[in-house]
């Protein structure tokens, strides 16, 4: 049996009476790509926020590689190897694209106060990271924007930088909140292929929120969780989801 990377049990969160997320269960096995879909307001993003610790959950349990993370601050959860993007891309706007990519890598020498005073100590590591950042930017076809401020990017480009930031972070589990909304068609395909390639090479586990059914139902996604009104209505492989009447109901209404 393969190792479970992310295990969510009975996760619930309500905002002043409204049950945004109600008793969600799922297991994300290592090296698997899972989709989380549902109509607007079905609680997909809130699920993400509660898993990553941005919003404290009311009840339930979240385990990252077998370690309970419920109630821990976001940076600790992130240090276990779980990184995410936000639905409305949240780049550091007054930093350049390259600088945006330089923040997420873990264990950088220069981030501690004492080492910061000794530039010669972190120079080498920094050089390696810059090279890595350029490789990623090349992959995402935004190499020419490296020195621009993040605030100068278009919406689609911001999404790409956000994904690049994720790839820089050496995370084991990537959580992507609508990664291709607003990205041009061919590049969408490329991003998807890249993610699949990375999964194979680095053994990544990926969780994607997506509106775009075409994107999510294509081959390569291992299983899908469908949410509606905070409830989990279906959990299964894409073929079953495609044929399910519940899903069609949820999307199109009664």
């Amino acid at each position: 049996m393969t190792e479970v990377a992310l295990s969510v049990r009975g996760l619930s969160k309500s905002f002043s009476g409204l049950k945004a997320v109600n008793n969600i269960h799922f297991d994300l096995k290592k090296n698997e790509i899972m989709g989380l879909i549902g109509p607007n307001g079905s609680g997909k993003s809130t699920t993400f926020n509660t898993i990553t610790g941005i919003i404290p959950a009311d009840s339930g349990s979240v385990k990252v590689f077998g370690e309970e993370v419920m109630g821990r601050p976001p940076h600790e959860i992130s240090s276990l190897g779980l990184s995410r993007t936000f639905q409305n891309t949240r780049l550091w706007r007054e930093l350049t694209v390259l600088e945006n990519l330089m923040i997420p890598p873990k264990n950088q020498f220069g981030t501690s106060v004492l080492n910061a005073l000794m530039p010669w100590k972190y120079k080498k590591q920094e050089g390696e990271l810059i090279e890595k950042a350029y490789t990623i930017l090349k992959l995402l076809e935004i190499e020419h924007m490296a020195e621009n401020y993040a605030s100068e990017l278009s919406g689609g480009q911001s999404k790409l930088v956000d994904i690049g930031r994720l790839l820089m972070s050496d995370a084991k589990i990537l959580m992507l909140d609508e990664p291709v909304a607003g990205v041009a068609g061919p590049l969408t395909e490329k991003i998807f292929q890249t993610l699949k390639k990375l999964r194979k090479e680095l053994g990544l586990t990926i969780l994607i929120i997506e509106h775009n059914m075409d994107f999510i139902l294509r081959k390569g996604i291992d299983h899908i969780v469908v949410m509606a009104n905070g409830e989990e209505i279906l959990n299964g492989p894409p073929d079953i989801v495609r044929q399910s009447l519940d899903v069609i109901d949820a999307y199109l209404g009664e």
Binding site: T52, G53, I54, P73, P74, H75, S78, S79, S83, R84, F86, R90, L91, W92, R93, E94, L95, L98, E99, M102, I103, P104, K106, Q108, F109, G110, T111, S112, V113, N115, A116, L117, P119, Y122, E126, I130, R165, S169
Partner: protein, 468 residues
């Protein structure tokens, strides 16, 4: 982030006349004992063209201390985005605590702390009391510990709430030292310094004014050394990954947090570092003033450096340095002299300037477009040099000189209003400075050439395209 030294060197070379001019204006008056320059500097001073070296030295001392203070504020508020309106809290605490540690502390008849022994040392011809410096550093370390405790509590507050708390803290401190703890803080009079930092060298024959002058100049050297070391440390911090993480926290805390950054740890650490250097500035300022008074806690002190940093460019160390030097010199050379009758004129002028800067150059002088930046730099130098003369129209015959009229209504000082000039060239109106504070230096090419050639800085101007 590869450093392209050739690029920077080119930038420096392009501005060599400006840089030379800046040092000339700032440091020339203190060179009256140099071998070649000395005699001409002394002549200029004796006829009143140049301020005397003691005045200049004191201004440089204060400016250098304010640079430490402004940069420490910029590291906290400009980099990590935790806007503090009461950074003077640490300035005042540093001032009081450094004096207390050096001089000892008595409550009533009871001795709490005996004070430090005098340790005279001689480094590079400067004969000074090392224990004063040790006291300043020890006091700053203690205040850093205090900041660690308070920071952990108040940095949980965000945005305006944090700002509000920082605004209130120095007011509380001011009441504490003047009214409640008057027994050992000296009340309104403050704590007097009895042990001087700079001592008379043994076997020196200097007396009176000459000795005073020597000590002032040595004090300047010590303070400039302090400023260079402190600013260098903060500059390295700001330029490293650490500074970048701070910027990321400023831009988006949640995104930083989910990228694995321990946001509260960084915020507290920068608060501690910033308070340490602000306290160093406080300790030095107490040495310059000769006492620690509750004036160190004044909110004017906090706002002053905020304006300096914003003018120079918030979120850049260099901006804070340039802003502080430019504005403090403008303040000391002109504004205070120009308006002797209006003691708090600087608040008015800085306030107006702040509004103009935030409206038209929110990113500050250092990030301004090169055209404006150059004109501001030249404008400042030009206004300094203008100030050394006693008439308002010494170079170009003004068609209309408003200085006498303004002097009539606002009071007259020794060097008032000389930076102000309004005249017509080639049918276009040229307006440049108002009381030494530059508001613009837009003019047709001809006027530009005349002026710049006069100051020997013409070749550095390059192409000039006046805004239409």
């Amino acid at each position: 982030m590869k450093l392209d030294w050739e690029y920077y060197w080119d930038e420096v070379k392009k501005r060599k006349f400006f840089i030379f001019g800046f040092f000339l204006v700032v440091l020339l008056p203190t060179m009256d004992t140099w071998i070649f320059l000395g005699p001409s500097v002394r002549t200029a001073q004796s006829v009143g063209i140049m301020p005397d070296s003691v005045t200049t030295s004191i201004i440089i001392q204060k400016a250098a201390i304010l640079v430490i203070f402004a940069v420490s504020w910029d590291l906290l508020s400009g980099y990590s985005g935790q806007i503090s309106f009461g950074h003077a809290l640490f300035l005042g605490m540093g001032g009081y605590l450094a004096v207390m540690i050096r001089e000892g502390l008595m409550i009533g008849d009871q001795e709490v702390f005996p004070g430090m022994e005098e340790q005279l040392v001689d480094i590079g011809g400067i004969y000074f009391d090392l224990s004063v410096i040790e006291a300043i550093i020890l006091a700053s370390a203690l205040i850093a510990v205090f900041a660690l405790v308070t920071g952990t509590i108040i940095l949980r507050l965000k945005g305006p709430y944090f700002a509000l708390v920082t605004l209130v803290l120095p007011l509380i401190a001011q009441i504490l030292v003047t009214k409640i703890w008057g027994d050992f803080t000296g009340g309104d009079g403050g704590l007097q310094i009895t042990s001087q930092l700079i001592q008379k060298p043994p076997g020196s024959t200097l007396e009176g004014l000459d000795l005073f002058k020597l000590q002032i100049e040595q004090m300047t050297t010590v303070i400039l050394t302090f400023a260079i070391v402190c600013v260098a440390i903060m500059y390295l911090l700001a330029r490293s990954r650490y500074g970048l993480v701070l910027k990321a926290i400023r831009e988006d805390e949640q995104a930083a947090s989910s990228s694995g950054i321990n946001v509260s740890l960084y915020k507290v650490s920068v608060f501690v570092i910033s308070s340490f250097f602000a306290s160093v500035a406080g300790g030095l300022l107490a040495q310059v003033f000769g006492s620690s008074t509750s004036a160190l806690f004044e909110s004017e002190r906090s706002f002053e450096i905020i304006i300096f940093s914003i003018l120079g460019g918030i979120g850049t160390i260099l901006g804070a340095i340039i802003g502080t030097f430019v504005l403090f010199f403008a303040l000391s050379y002109y504004i205070k002299d120009g308006f002797v009758d209006l003691q708090t004129i600087e608040v008015l002028i800085f306030g107006l300037l702040l509004i103009i800067i935030i409206r038209y150059q929110p990113r500050g002088l250092i990030n301004a477009d090169p055209q404006l930046r150059n004109s501001l730099f030249f404008g400042v130098i030009f206004s300094f040099l203008m100030a050394f003369y006693d008439t308002g129209n010494m170079i170009i015959a003004s068609t209309w000189n408003p200085a006498p009229i303004l002097q009539k209504y606002l009071g007259q000082g020794e060097r008032g209003f000389f930076g102000m000039d309004l005249f017509k060239v080639q049918g276009r109106m040229v307006l440049y400075f108002i009381v030494g504070t530059v508001i613009g230096y837009y003019g047709p090419e001809l006027a530009q050439k005349i002026r710049l050639r006069l100051w020997g800085v013409w070749p550095s101007l390059g192409t000039f395209d006046p805004p239409k």
